[in-house]
Symmetry: C2
Subunit: 219 residues, 2 copies
């Protein structure tokens, strides 16, 4: 179990999985393993289609991988899957289990993050005991086309400044724009396609981490 004090640094480069980006002939585990070699600090298992049995199998594999590499491992939405594989916690959306119920079920030791789209949702998340918040979406994205209006860099900056818990940013983040995202002071970035869909996920993760270090060195 990752201690909460170390959470902000554990969120620096946060991979969100999506089986649709796994190339033929490779498994989700292969891609995540490669991304971890490249320096990913946290992994969120996100799966909406598979059976619960299949989710537990896949998440269990990633869980073991992350444990041995000291990478934070969270499950998107599914508190049952998180419990079954003994994940470090869950990441909730606004349509997922209410935060207070997830906390009641998972206990105080679990890490619970939540996606927020504005300052109202940020405050509610913090009041309900979120360990971190995920600001979404920074940019327009094809992964979640039904999303709300992008925050943009200045919108993100305002939310980051107001946050009283560690924060990450998600939505359309790639190698070209990640440095300005890090410069908002956000603790980490969530990446889906720019690593999952990269020809070499290890190199992609390394490149993100270089930009993280550059942005941090600059301040």
């Amino acid at each position: 179990m990752t201690t909460k004090s170390a959470l902000s640094s554990k969120l620096a480069l946060y991979l969100v999985t999506d089986n649709r980006f796994v190339p033929e002939g490779k498994s989700l585990k292969d891609v995540v393993e490669s991304a971890i070699r490249g320096g990913v600090t946290a992994v969120q298992y996100r799966e909406k289609e598979a059976s619960t049995r299949k989710m537990i199998e896949e998440a269990g594999e990633l869980r073991n991988l992350c444990r041995s590499c000291e990478v934070l491992f969270l499950v998107n939405d599914r508190v049952d899957v998180a419990l079954a594989v003994e994940a470090d916690g869950v990441h909730l959306g606004q349509d997922d289990m209410p935060l207070h119920l997830a906390r009641k079920i998972l206990g105080s030791g679990a890490i619970i993050g939540i996606t927020v789209h504005n300052d109202l949702e940020r405050r509610a998340a913090e009041q309900n005991g979120a360990d971190y918040v995920s600001f979404a979406p920074v940019f327009a994205t094809s992964t979640k086309p039904d999303h709300q209006t992008p925050l943009g860099i200045s919108g993100l900056e305002q939310l980051v400044r107001a946050a009283t818990v560690p924060s990450v940013a998600i939505g359309g983040i790639n190698l070209d724009n990640v440095e300005e995202v890090y410069k908002t002071g956000v603790d980490g970035v969530c990446v889906v396609s720019a690593i999952m869909g990269a020809t070499d996920p290890e190199l992609a993760a390394q490149a993100f981490l270089e930009r993280y270090n550059r942005a941090r060195a600059h301040h």
Copy 2:
């Protein structure tokens, strides 16, 4: 929490919900309420499409309804939803969470049922601590067209005779065939469309219960 000793009688007429059968202008709760007035003894909330938030809302309503009527209330597949609404337990399929993990998470007091298609699956379920088994499918059904070969009455009879825990039967059961199903000695029947899709779910449930009593009186 329903005591396990009373389980077999609580399974007599077991409604499995399906939002696709809810008529326009009515809610799932309306239909279930009507079915309970007609004598349904157990309700299983089954929902595969909605968000977790929506599932918890709907299941929470049914949970309260069932509690006040002393009707058993289980959640299909989703251990997280069952925990969130404090259901009596879960009903698992072969593609859902493995039974031993569900037991570990829900504890010994929870009622855990599992769908089985043959004697091998029945024995595994009993060895893993299932509180009841659900034999499926008795007849061919349009609700689950991807199902296995129907057991038929004689196949069901063999499984019921071998079972060491309470059992129910599911799949294509309607008012015309339910009496012969009950006569196999099975503790209960699961009904989806024949009650959910009835013009008057209360009357439909009453008619099922009459056949239950007739079959029991007969032996």
